[in-house]
């Protein structure tokens, strides 16, 4: 099956100029401007297959929004090629628009002053959705999102969580095969987040809807996406699965050991000579630190169980936030930014 989205060497340059200060500066700006080129998206290539759910993450100003705007046809690329649903998004914008759904977490697409259902009815007209299909879909959406309760409330009176549920439903009313979500869970409480995630998963499973979502909430990625792309300074730093990313960036693993009794401590200390750091947490529990390339976790655990009397062994996972923080601050991945990182997809 051909990919749903194909992006090749995508570049977006913005031309800005430094405004001079004061009235005299403003007058000078009229006839001579010092222009600067700013490259927001720098040679990005990837492709997304049908039914994939892809997380697109990166720090603020990394080029996520610019990418989404090009993918949805709002912005024209400076160079490079995009094919999505068989269209060139900006050249065939209007026809392409029928085949995609877009959710902006920060901005609603619903009409502010009228009841939600009126907005839906307008969208039904705009996308020419047959009545039966429209009703069927609405009652289907209601099962997970529980829309019916506030269907007649004006949008401005909805809570953020309710509004987002409606916005997500609105974007999927015409059953687009491709859905873009720009920070769909921003500012939501845990219940609303869960409801939206469950809904997206179900739509993806039932209709095979391809989804690309940007987020700052990494639990979105953990729950929804089998694949994530990390972008910074307009470049893709990583493109692959979350477990692979963790494995790649966890240089140090920790194993927590709870001993049966105090005397076992001496037995455990033996391991510190073999590239394993032994740290005392309290009398009976210790934390072992080691590098995966030097020490194999399975081997280590087998030997500890054989040689030491233990109550419990726990591999401690590094939280994904920590992994991502290290990428954003430049501690990881940035060295080989030009090449394809190991473990990444071809």
């Amino acid at each position: 099956m051909p990919p749903v989205v194909e992006v090749e060497n995508l570049v977006k340059d913005f031309r800005t100029f430094d405004r001079r200060e004061g009235v005299w500066g403003a007058i000078q700006d009229l006839y001579s401007r010092r222009y600067r080129n700013f490259r927001a998206v720098d040679n990005v290539s990837f492709s997304i297959g049908q039914g994939e759910m892809v997380g697109y993450i990166g720090p603020n100003g990394a080029g996520k929004s610019t990418s989404i705007k090009m993918l949805t046809g709002i912005l024209v690329p400076s160079s490079g090629r995009i094919a999505a649903n068989g269209f060139s998004p900006w050249r065939e914008r209007t026809r392409y628009a029928r085949t995609i759904g877009v959710v902006f977490g920060q901005r609603t697409q619903l009409w502010w002053d009228i009841g939600v259902v009126e907005s839906f009815r307008l969208l039904q007209k705009i996308y020419e959705i047959p009545q039966a299909e429209y009703e069927h879909r609405l009652s289907k959406f209601d099962e997970v999102l529980e829309l019916k309760r506030y269907l007649h409330t004006p949008v401005r009176k909805l809570s953020l969580g309710e509004r987002m549920r409606c916005d997500v439903a609105a974007a999927l009313l015409h059953n687009p095969p491709l859905l873009f979500l720009d920070e769909p869970t921003i500012g939501l409480d845990i219940v609303a987040k869960e409801s939206i995630r469950t809904f997206l998963k179900e739509v993806n499973r039932e209709n095979g809807t391809t989804m690309l979502l940007t987020t700052h909430d990494l639990s979105d990625i953990e729950e929804l996406c089998h694949r994530l792309m990390i972008i910074d300074h307009g470049r893709v730093l990583y493109d692959g699965g979350l477990p692979e990313l963790k494995r790649m960036l966890w240089e140090e693993s920790t194993l927590k050991v709870d001993l049966r009794d105090r005397d076992q401590a001496a037995q455990l200390a033996v391991f510190s000579m073999e590239g394993v750091g032994v740290e005392r947490v309290d009398e009976l529990s210790y934390r072992l630190r080691f590098r995966r390339e030097e020490v194999q976790p399975a081997e280590l655990i087998r030997r500890i169980v054989n040689e030491v009397q233990v109550l419990d062994l726990t591999m401690e996972e590094q939280p994904i936030e920590e992994v991502v923080r290290r990428i954003y601050t430049g501690e990881a991945l940035h060295d080989d930014a030009h090449g394809t990182p190991e473990n990444a997809r071809p």
Binding site: L75, T94, F104, Q109, D113, L122, K125
Partner: protein
């Protein structure tokens, strides 16, 4: 057809919005009506003393004023989004959403909101026509109403075209100077006999910003003024030219927005 039904749907939904705020809507209707009546009172105060002004009787001027309300109110009905365009669509970024819908951007901008109060002006204009037509020797027959509809639609389209071109400028720059309000005020000039102005203003209202074609020329033709047949025929031509220009500028503006994102 599809676009028409969509426009109707927009209109129905927007009416619901306005009716949701009944007090606000009523106030707005009353102030609009008051403004229109004040306009007619002004015409009365200025012109009723003089028997003939450049060949125009007081009743004819009143008839012109009343007829002029028709294209004007149709324009006002549709132009509400143009006033806030720069602020709401460009600065606040609402235009992104417009670009994501499978409907032409102009249809969305013109028909998403309506100034329903403007229909009050239509009613007032019709009342003035009805009252003054016998005095200026015009029969309100089928031919008249057909011509009136054609002139109203063309006139309103001409107004829209002119203001669309001006609004489209905000795709390139913020209109800090405010070129639109003074030009909006100039619209009123085209609803009096152009002969009362000096040559420069008359030329401008005819050929530069041709508001004269939306008000003065068609009515002068209806009243049987000399040499006006040509101008009546020119109205569709002028409207078509300005509309073509407006769509061209608009589409270029959209393209510019798409490449700069602002």
């Amino acid at each position: 057809m599809r676009t028409l039904s969509l426009i109707w749907q927009y209109f129905v939904q927007y009416s619901k919005v306005r009716l949701a705020y009944r007090g606000d809507f009523l106030t707005s209707v009353i102030t609009t009506m008051f403004g229109a009546v004040a306009g007619i009172a002004a015409v009365y105060l200025i012109f009723h003393r003089a028997p003939l002004i450049h060949g125009w009787s007081f009743d004819e001027i009143l008839f012109l004023y009343g007829f002029g309300l028709l294209p004007l109110s149709l324009f006002n009905l549709l132009s509400i989004n143009l006033y806030f365009f720069s602020e709401v669509y460009i600065v606040q970024g609402k235009f992104d959403r417009v670009l994501l819908r499978p409907v032409h951007t102009l249809v969305q901008i013109l028909f998403e909101q309506f100034r329903i109060e403007a229909l009050g002006d239509t009613a007032l204009g019709l009342a003035v026509l009805w009252a003054t037509a016998p005095k200026v020797g015009i029969a309100l027959d089928l031919r008249f109403w057909l011509l009136a509809i054609v002139f109203t639609v063309l006139g309103a389209t001409l107004y829209l075209a002119i203001f669309l071109s001006l609004t489209a400028v905000s795709f390139w720059m913020e209109d800090r100077v405010g070129i639109i309000p003074p030009i909006y005020n100039m619209m009123a000039f085209g609803r009096y006999p152009l002969d009362i102005y000096g040559t420069p203003i008359k030329l401008m209202l005819s050929w530069v910003i041709p508001f004269g074609f939306a008000g003065f020329y068609p009515v002068a033709y209806l009243l049987g003024k000399e040499g006006m047949l040509l101008f009546a025929w020119l109205l569709p031509v002028v409207t078509a030219c300005f509309l073509a220009l407006a769509v061209l500028v608009w589409n270029r503006g959209v393209r510019n927005y798409s490449s700069t994102g602002s």
